[in-house]
């Protein structure tokens, strides 16, 4: 009886180990590691955009980037790592777009100011010399 029970227990342990192994394999196949690098890249891209005043010059893109990053983190928690990776990449691309549009808006604002100053200068010049048409 004792021997029988021992043998029975041994086979149960083996079965448990085997089951665990199957589970682990299954986990490996369906849930790859979280896309940590992609998420970090997205976070850095958002931080860079915010440093560049994207909230002022490209608020739509920045907001979209935040939304994508949040979705990516949700996907990670749901073990949807592929989706999470894609969302992280999209968040990063959106943040980079926000930065680029911010740069363009700032550059154009500077140029507009310069042109306005030029216009004022020309006006003042015309007024100054008194040959207004």
């Amino acid at each position: 009886m004792n021997a029988t029970s021992k043998a029975h227990r041994g086979s149960r342990v083996q079965m448990t180990l085997g089951f665990t192994g199957v589970l682990l394999l299954a986990a490996c196949a369906s849930a790859p590691p979280a896309p940590t690098a992609n998420l970090q890249a997205a976070q850095q891209a958002i931080a860079a955009a915010e440093r560049g005043e994207a909230a002022r010059y490209a608020p739509g893109e920045l907001s979209e980037s935040h939304t994508k990053l949040a979705s990516a983190e949700t996907a990670v928690s749901e073990k949807k790592m592929i989706v999470a990776e894609h969302l992280a990449d999209q968040s990063r691309a959106e943040a980079e777009l926000a930065s680029a549009r911010t740069s363009a808006a700032k550059a154009n604002a500077v140029n507009d100011e310069m042109k306005r100053t030029n216009g004022t200068l020309v006006d003042e010049m015309k007024r100054g010399s008194g040959d207004k048409p």
């Binding site: 592929i82 989706v83 894609h86 990449d89 999209q90 691309a93 959106e94 980079e96 777009l97 680029a100 549009r101 740069s103 363009a104 700032k106 550059a107 154009n108 500077v110 140029n111 310069m114 042109k115 100053t117 030029n118 200068l121 020309v122 003042e124 010049m125 100054g128 010399s129």
Partner: protein, 306 residues
């Protein structure tokens, strides 16, 4: 039977193979369809690449965008993956455009600055011209004022000169008058020539006693517009007729002397007053000596005499 069974076994396997192949072929015919949105991303990229202001700027970003678009264009059975690639391609094209626009704007600043410098230079040139104009105007005005001032000064000088001249002339006349020891009276300047000129009872001038007459000649030379009236006087010694005659002859003698020294006789008149108009008492020798005299009255001017 064996072979038949074998054949029976093979036939279904082949059928399955054909079916799979046909499925794969079918998959191949549908697979080349590009994922949704990839074409739009390509159009945007092509627009960016054909923009002469932007194509050469942000070259790296455009290259990345091009790679992303090509990846998005790859046929992909996984819809989620395909959508992700299209999304990334679209954002990368937009990013590349924004970066190129940024560079373009930055490059434009040189142009704007050049325009401003040109405008400034223009303004300075105009200011300088205006200033030059003002200076010229001011100079012209200054010159005008200077001219006016010079003229005024000239006039003042002339006036001063005239004043000085008349002053000088007056001073000179006074000096001459002083030299003649003439006395201003209401008849004019009266020069009294004493009897020292004449020997008693005679009318001819003593030689060597003509200093006063020479001074008179000089004076009349200097003031040619002045005429003189010469009057002879005697004391009360002797008859009236005699004294009248003597006074006339003495006056004539002086007149002759003056005429002989270049004074026009037109300016000269001589008369005798005899013993009338004594200037001193005939009772004394001194008085009589004073009464024996010739008075030369110098008129203020020719006009005054007429």
């Amino acid at each position: 039977m064996n072979t038949t069974r074998y054949g029976d076994v093979i036939a279904p396997k082949m059928l399955i193979g054909v079916a799979v192949a046909s499925i794969l072929l079918a998959a191949c015919t549908t697979a080349p369809v590009k994922p949704d949105g990839a074409a739009e991303a390509r159009v945007k990229l092509t627009q960016l690449q054909s923009d002469p202001n932007l194509a050469s700027r942000a070259a790296t970003a455009i290259k990345d965008a091009d790679a992303a678009v090509r990846a998005a264009e790859q046929p992909e059975a996984d819809k989620e993956l395909a959508a992700n690639r299209v999304y990334l391609a679209d954002r990368k094209v937009d990013t590349a455009r924004a970066l190129a626009e940024t560079r373009f704007a930055e490059d434009q600043r040189a142009v704007i600055t050049a325009q401003r410098d040109s405008a400034r230079l223009d303004a300075r040139t105009r200011e300088a011209d205006a200033a030059k104009g003002q200076v010229a105007t001011a100079q012209a005005e200054g010159a005008e004022q200077k001219m006016a001032a010079d003229q005024a000064r000239g006039e003042a000088n002339t006036a001063q000169l005239a004043a000085a001249s008349s002053q000088q002339q007056a001073a000179e006349l006074q000096r001459q008058v002083d030299v003649l020891q003439a006395k201003p009276t209401d008849r004019g300047l009266v020069l009294t020539l004493g009897d020292v000129l004449f020997t008693t009872g005679r009318a001819d001038l003593k030689p060597g006693a003509t200093d006063n007459l020479n001074k008179l000649v000089a004076f009349l030379d200097k003031y040619p517009d002045r005429s003189v009236t010469i009057q002879g006087f005697t004391d009360s010694v002797g008859s009236e007729d005699y004294n009248q005659g003597l006074s006339e002859r003495r006056a004539d003698s002086v007149k002759s002397y003056l005429a002989g020294h270049g004074i026009s006789s037109m300016r000269l008149s001589a008369s005798g007053k005899g013993r009338s108009d004594p200037v001193a008492d005939n009772g004394s020798a001194t008085g009589r000596q004073q009464n024996r005299r010739v008075e030369v009255i110098i008129g203020n001017s020719t006009a005054a005499l007429r």
